[in-house]
């Protein structure tokens, strides 16, 4: 019902007032759902006194940093003000592991805060958020300042070309070709390492501009994480395709305060639980699956 209303609202974007009204209704519904749950069914899980999980359970609230601008992972809906995506679903499932009940019920206890790439570490260190679930690639430099649970997803850098292009089948084929990626991204560095002769002189602040430049024939390929490219392929309406020749791994983890081993173990166990229980796959299908990505096998948890 709520989805139906939302879709109707988007279609009738001209009627801004109607759209806003629908959004409000949606919020009230989910709020009501969250309060009725505490009375019913299962008792919330119990944790050792003094642990982060017990503290959060006592407060009845968890603050989560996520992206607000990343389609498929964390995107804030301009009409309803809700954040949607795979990261958000993972966050709800984690919250359900702390507070008990279903993911949707636990959603009412989550406060989402926008975490852009630059402020993720300081947010964790200063305690402004309890966890960061925001397309957060696990790497050694970051492990010095924060800890990671997971990975819960492994993105791969891939290549997007026009649908009629059959010359480019792997990253090596980019040598001597004009390739576009975002200014200052790790994607550019990965290409430079794997295809040193690639011409990377054209780059923009967003990937949609790269896609536009490829449509105009200024570049022959666009490269970055497959999850981002999938959204662009979807938006092109058949004009572009994914080469499907991944050449780097970007394991996404859940960021938490350093040296809270009990909390990290809990998160890793909870992730394994939702991998095995099928909630992970369902969350994928409901978000990234809609962008045309096929559901992969869950990654192996890295207990370091």
């Amino acid at each position: 019902m709520r989805r139906g209303l939302r879709r109707f609202a988007v279609l009738g974007a001209v009627l801004m007032l109607t759209a806003a009204g629908c959004g409000d209704d949606g919020d009230e519904e989910s709020g009501g759902g969250a309060t009725t749950t505490s009375s019913g069914g299962e008792a919330p899980p119990t944790f050792a006194a003094g642990s982060t999980m017990a503290t959060l359970q006592g407060k009845g609230k968890i603050i989560l940093g996520t992206k607000f601008d990343q389609p498929g992972f964390g995107l804030k809906d301009a009409v309803s003000g809700k954040v949607e995506g795979f990261d958000v679903e993972i966050a709800k499932l984690i919250a359900a592991g702390i507070f008990g009940g279903s993911a949707e019920e636990a959603a009412g206890k989550i406060e989402f805060v926008e975490a852009v790439s630059k402020n993720r570490e300081p947010f964790i260190q200063e305690g402004k958020v309890d966890l960061v679930v925001a397309t957060y690639t696990i790497n050694d430099a970051r492990k010095i300042v924060v800890d990671f649970a997971g990975p819960y997803f492994v993105a791969r850098q891939d290549i997007m070309v026009k649908s009629d292009n059959n010359d480019i089948r792997s990253v090596e084929d980019l040598n001597g070709k004009k390739v576009c990626s975002a200014q200052g991204s790790t994607s550019i560095k990965n290409v430079q390492a794997k295809a040193p002769q690639a011409d990377l002189s054209i780059s923009f602040d967003t990937y949609s501009k790269c896609a536009d430049a490829m449509g105009d024939g200024r570049v022959v390929a666009v490269t970055t994480d497959d999850t981002i490219l999938a959204g662009l392929v979807q938006a092109s309406g058949g004009a572009f395709k994914l080469v499907n020749a991944p050449f780097s791994d970007e394991p996404y983890g859940i960021g938490l305060k350093k040296d809270d081993t009990a909390f990290r173990n809990f998160l890793n166990n909870r992730l394994q639980e939702i991998f095995d229980g099928g909630e992970w796959a369902a969350a994928f299908e409901a978000t990234l699956g809609k962008l045309g990505l096929t559901t992969p096998e869950p990654p192996a948890i890295a207990a370091y």
């Binding site: 200014q183 550019i188 002189s201 780059s203 501009k209 430049a213 105009d216």
Partner: protein, 214 residues
């Protein structure tokens, strides 16, 4: 200073591109601006309207918007220009609107008696403009045109948004490659000063030259 000296080649090549971009764009802007100013003061009413429309449209749109509009818009109507050509187009058409207003105010500063005398001598409107009004007006506008030139040097930095490897774009690449943000940006500021200050001095000399002959 180290990161700047290590990448001196990139700075010099960026400065060269910025200088070329500015000089070419300013040349085109002078021609465009003078034509538009002539249209705005011509006796033909539709021409005046067209001139006024041009100035208001171009002067009141942010340069970065024009830059993207030409870069991504023109190919959709079959005109695929390189990034550099697109940047020249955007910079010169934009600056042309300011040149037009400067030239027009210069022309208006020439006493009407001059134009009336030219008419009395039997000169046509184009002749009056070319031999009587414009030479006098140019002296008045030398200083404001110089300011437009210096503004153009700095405005050319916007071309980095469409991947033209001018100074600002080169430095941006260096920053992402090395992470040495502050020294590289200070280097960029100094490099721009090395372009703008000598330009200012040269323009001052030029201004004094035309002023003396009055």
């Amino acid at each position: 200073m180290g990161p700047v000296l290590d990448n001196l080649d990139a700075y010099l090549s960026g400065m060269r591109t910025t200088a070329t971009l500015t000089v070419v764009s300013f040349g085109v802007a002078l021609v465009v601006g003078t034509l538009i100013a002539s249209a705005r003061i011509s006796p033909v009413v539709p021409l005046r309207w067209a001139g006024a429309a041009y100035v208001e449209l171009l002067r009141n749109t942010p340069l970065v918007v024009l830059m993207f509009l030409y870069y991504f818009g023109l190919p959709k109507i079959g005109l695929l220009f390189s990034g550099f050509t697109t940047a020249v187009l955007a910079l010169s058409l934009y600056t042309g609107a300011f040149v037009a207003e400067t030239v027009r105010s210069g022309v208006n500063s020439v006493a009407t008696g001059q134009a009336e005398a030219a008419r009395a001598l039997g000169l046509t409107f184009p002749q009056t403009l070319a031999t009587v009004i414009v030479p006098q007006a140019l002296r008045t506008v030398a200083a404001p045109l110089g300011s437009l030139f210096i503004a153009l040097i700095k405005n050319s930095a916007v071309a980095f948004t469409i991947s033209v490897p001018e100074l600002n774009g080169r430095v941006d690449r260096l920053i992402t490659d090395t992470g040495q943000t502050i020294p590289l940006l200070v280097g960029a500021a100094v490099a721009y000063l090395l372009l703008t200050i000598p330009s200012g001095i040269a323009l001052g000399v030029l201004e004094r030259r035309v002023a003396i002959r009055r």
